[in-house]
């Protein structure tokens, strides 16, 4: 815990600066055509990967201290069998220390979350599940190439509740070509019937290297356009806030402050995190490094006894500041006014942005408004000459 005297709400126990641990499980039964995260469909590689992963765990004993969050992401961590997941958890708990109230999240595909799996995850120690629901409209799910139905998602959510999960996150996606406001509102409404503790609403983006990106390049898909994207964003924000959720990051909503994703906060506030598995990123003491983006190479390097690090960068103070401002303005925490350059020009900029309704200043902090969130990629540069 830092000896920081100016405590804000951000520094409650759920928001402490203890390190986070991320494990990238790079396997999917089927790749979704929009997803740019690294994963492979060759599940036969899992045993070899597990061996390599255990080696990475052994080699990676950095001075991170006790982890306060553990996050299994991917890929699709839920494709791993209970036995394999047990090996992952066992390996981690043998070599790392964790705080008593560690947030332990696993990402899951609704298609994998049977009643048994839900109970199994719970008994393995997971206390948070982030479910890739995406939509409660079967047509949209087919379009997105998901291998589950709306009905399966509902069943999975019920199984998780039954298994005793009291912290469930639901991932949703909007801005699909041709999507109407009605189907989106219906997805949101059906999501709310489960009162998930956490909801992520991601706008569909066309990422380079994905099947969707290709289709957009070929002119088969058209992006929604700024105006429609705005409508979806503003609609989601006001709908969920009216339902009592806190819009605490561009794409993230929490039912209560306690349900803010503690793990994701590490990324946004330069809190140290260790990332294991192919393509995972780590950050510690101004240095960021990342692993090889290939299961095969990852395994080969570890089998040789080396670490699978592909690259690293050491951030200058200015770069840290730039990141801190750009990430901070994406959250409802905002940034400390003292973190942005002083001087008459800043004053002027602040006033102009306030008048435009994009930011608000209170208690020495600068925050983006809902409208400000919409242009969050443009805001930080206003404060860097």
């Amino acid at each position: 815990m830092p000896a920081n005297t100016t405590r804000t709400k951000a520094d409650t126990p759920h928001h402490s600066r203890g390190p986070g641990l991320y494990v990238h499980i790079p396997f999917c039964k089927t790749k979704c055509p929009y997803c740019a995260f690294y994963s492979v469909e060759s599940l036969s590689l899992i045993p070899r990967w597990l061996d390599a992963f255990e080696k990475e765990v052994v080699h990676s004993q950095h001075g991170f201290g006790a982890f306060e969050t553990l996050y299994l992401g991917g890929g699709t961590p839920s494709v791993l069998t209970m036995r394999d997941l047990e090996r992952v958890i066992q390996g981690l708990s043998c070599h790392f220390t964790f705080a008593a109230d560690t947030e332990i999240t696993i990402e899951g595909n609704p298609g994998d979350l049977t009643k048994d799996k839900a109970h199994g995850l719970r008994s393995l120690g997971f206390n948070r599940v982030n479910l890739g629901v995406q939509s409660f409209n079967d047509g949209e799910l087919t379009f997105l190439g998901r291998r589950h139905t709306a009905g399966e998602a509902e069943r999975a959510l019920r199984h998780l509740r039954c298994a005793g999960f009291e912290n469930i996150g639901v991932d949703l996606m909007y801005g699909l070509p041709g999507q109407s406001s009605e189907t989106w509102l219906e997805t949101l409404t059906r999501t709310l019937t489960f009162q998930p503790e956490h909801i992520s609403c991601y706008q569909l983006t066309f990422e380079r290297g994905t099947a969707f990106w290709k289709k957009k390049e070929q002119g088969i898909f058209r992006a929604l356009g700024q105006e429609r994207e705005r409508e979806f964003f503003l609609m989601s924000s006001s709908f969920l806030e009216d339902a009592g959720y806190i819009h605490y990051e561009i794409s993230n909503f929490a039912r209560e402050p306690a349900f803010v994703s503690r793990h994701n906060r590490k990324y946004w506030f330069h809190i140290p995190y260790l990332g294991l598995g192919p393509s995972a990123h780590s950050f510690c003491e101004s240095t960021r490094w990342w692993n090889l983006r290939s299961v095969k190479k990852y395994c080969e390097v570890l089998e040789r006894g080396d670490l699978p690090v592909a690259g690293r960068e050491r951030l200058t103070e200015e770069q840290i500041r730039l990141e801190a401002v750009s990430l901070g303005l994406r959250t409802n925490q905002g940034v400390e006014l003292t973190d942005i350059t002083g001087g008459p020009e800043t004053e002027h900029t602040l006033r102009t942005l306030q008048d435009a309704g994009l930011i608000q200043v209170s208690n020495g902090r600068l925050k983006a408004t809902r409208e400000g969130f919409l242009v969050a990629d443009r805001l930080p540069l206003c404060f860097f000459p």
């Binding site: 990342w290 770069q319 730039l322 990141e323 435009a356 990629d377 860097f384």
Partner: protein
């Protein structure tokens, strides 16, 4: 004993000067064929990109005739554009003769005539050379007739050549060695050398280009600059062979360079006479006429803390471009800067580009203007070359603006289009003459302010490149002149103000608002741009804000990617000037005079 000939090539722009210089250089074997590149004397990137010569360049060519005579031919390449006629006249002062190049297809053009007069003023031997005789459209007889009638030269002496094909090059050498007189002046007399150019080298200080008229100078000599008496010890002398080549001395008749550890940039004055401290000459050489700038605009550093660096760069730049004049200036919007005078718009653009490329300065240039005069009710007359100092309107009796005599030479078929263009630019008193069949010369009286920006470009467009244009200042004439202010996001940007004729105010204001709308990038908020005369808004445009720009996901690897993008955008911002909360790109200031969207 080597004989010397000093000559220059003068021509209208694009008549093939640089190509001819290339051929002459190649024929003398000064460069190995593998080292050769086109436009070899145009050493600046900007010259090569634009395909024009901006700076005079001197080069000494070794040449031997068949009879076994050995010559040093000093070629001084000169620019062709009207803006750089000052460079031409300085080069001519160092020569005894010129090659007057005429395009066999285009014939005599405005600058051909202007350059001819300049050469005659210096009493030089003129050798007409008809170039591009290989072109299918070449009409040698017609051009010979023009040379006789329009230039008053003996067309029988004209040398025919094609610099591109390498035809007639030997004839040109023959003409140079036989017709251009050898330099006079005794090497035994006291030293008199004319500084015709200079540039700054960070390691050697000022490198002076000079023509020795009398006497001799050697390393170790102490020289004196006659205009202010400063003395320096000569470190090195030599000649230009594309690169500098050291020599033991430079003596009467020779053209070369001199390095004397001159660190104080402003000490070197183009046109000054160098003499020896121990045995000074009594009378300096006739220098050059001081140039009068006709276009004015201010230069500001994009970032105010670079003011001192800009000041230093301007000093050094001025050494190599004597035509630029500048003095301190300041603006509410842009801070500390310099008010500069230029010979024309091309000159202004070149200054901007060279300051950026050669001196690494990011600058903002304000709207170019001419020098106006205002007769005030109290009987005084004030000269205003900066709209910021436009007098209080209630005190003005009348405004006066400079007029030029514009001479436009075009093939007859473009007459209508050119007339329209000129009348739109407030031209009056048209006089038409027919120098040769099929071509007409139109002369107008025109406000200088109407030609300073894109007139030449527009003329080229409407005449498909066939129009040539030259002008001289005429007089000042009374007109109803008002000040047009531009408000960006509600704030007056003084650097964007212009003085305009009342009848043109609205169209100029609309134009400025449109250009700024194109040039200023979108911001996070709506930016109104307004044109105002005397408190009344007469034009308006609006830059709409970004409606949405946000990345949906920002986890592990996204963060680095995102920061890199921001760093790139941040770099782009360095080329903009922040006024209020609006970032204005450096080129926007000058764009307001542009009548059309640039491609």
């Amino acid at each position: 004993m080597r004989k010397i000939r000093n000559f220059s090539i003068i021509a209208h722009i694009n008549h093939g000067k640089s190509t001819l210089a290339d051929r002459l250089i190649q024929r003398t074997g000064l460069v190995e064929p593998r080292d050769f590149r086109d436009q070899i004397l145009d050493t600046m990137d900007i010259e090569r990109e634009r395909g024009i010569t901006i700076k005079s360049q001197a080069v000494t060519l070794p040449y031997s005739t068949k009879k076994g005579e050995h010559f040093d031919l000093n070629l001084i390449d000169t620019p062709g554009h009207v803006d750089f006629s000052y460079e031409v006249s300085r080069a001519l002062a160092a020569c005894e003769g010129v090659l007057l190049l005429v395009d066999a297809a285009q014939g005599v053009e405005a600058q051909t005539v202007a350059n001819l007069y300049a050469a005659m003023e210096h009493d030089l031997t003129i050798i007409p050379v008809i170039n591009k005789i290989d072109l299918p459209s070449a009409d040698i007889d017609r051009v010979k007739e023009q040379i006789e009638v329009e230039l008053g030269l003996d067309s029988d002496l004209a040398v025919l050549c094609s610099a591109k094909e390498g035809l007639g090059i030997d004839d040109i050498f023959k003409a140079i060695t036989e017709q251009i007189p050898a330099p006079e002046g005794s090497a035994a007399a006291p030293l008199r050398a004319l500084i015709f150019d200079a540039h700054y080298d960070p390691f050697r200080g000022t490198i002076v280009s000079c023509r020795v008229f009398e006497g001799c100078v050697r390393p170790g000599d102490t020289i004196r600059l006659m205009s202010h008496g400063a003395t320096y010890k000569v470190e090195e002398v030599g000649v230009f062979r594309l690169n500098r080549e050291r020599k033991d001395s430079l003596s009467a008749g020779e053209v070369g360079y001199l390095i004397a550890g001159i660190k104080t940039v402003s000490d070197t004055r183009i046109g000054d006479t160098i003499t020896l401290d121990s045995e000074p000459a009594t009378v300096p050489l006739p220098g050059f006429k001081a140039v009068k700038p006709v276009v004015f605009s201010s230069i500001y550093p994009v970032s105010s803390e670079d003011y001192l660096a800009l000041s230093d760069s301007l000093e050094k730049y001025k050494l190599n471009d004597a035509a630029l004049v500048f003095q301190k200036d300041s603006s509410a919007a842009l801070g500390m800067g310099f008010r500069c005078g230029y010979l024309g718009l091309l000159h202004l653009e070149i200054v901007q580009e060279r300051l950026e490329r050669e001196f690494g300065q990011f600058i903002v240039m304000t709207v170019p203007t001419v020098q106006y005069r205002f007769q005030l009710k109290n009987g005084k007359t004030v000269s205003i070359d900066n709209p910021m100092y436009y007098p209080d309107p209630v005190t003005i009796q009348q405004g006066l603006e400079p007029y030029i005599k514009a001479a436009i030479l075009i093939p007859e078929r473009y007459m209508g289009a050119v007339m329209d263009l000129c009348l739109e630019r407030r031209a009056v008193n048209a006089r038409i003459s027919y120098p040769t069949t099929g071509r007409i010369e139109i002369q107008f009286d025109m406000p200088l302010a109407e030609v300073i920006y894109d007139f030449y470009d527009r003329l080229k467009t409407v005449t498909q490149g066939y129009g040539s244009f030259d002008y001289e200042l005429l007089d000042y004439r009374a007109n109803d002149l008002v000040k047009l202010d531009i408000l960006v996001n509600g704030e007056k940007v003084d650097a964007l103000s212009q003085i305009v004729h009342r009848d043109r105010a609205r169209s100029r204001a609309v134009q400025a608002c449109e250009r700024l709308k194109e040039e200023i990038p979108r911001h996070l908020f709506k930016i109104p741009i307004q044109g105002v005369v005397g408190g009344t808004i007469i034009a308006r445009s609006t830059i709409s804000p970004f409606r949405k720009d946000v990345t949906a996901k920002c986890y592990g690897g996204d963060i680095t990617r995102k920061r890199k993008l921001l760093e790139k955008q941040k770099k782009g911002k360095k080329r903009m000037k922040m006024i209020g909360s609006v970032n204005i790109p450096q080129n926007a200031f000058i764009s307001v005079l542009r009548s059309e969207q640039r491609k």
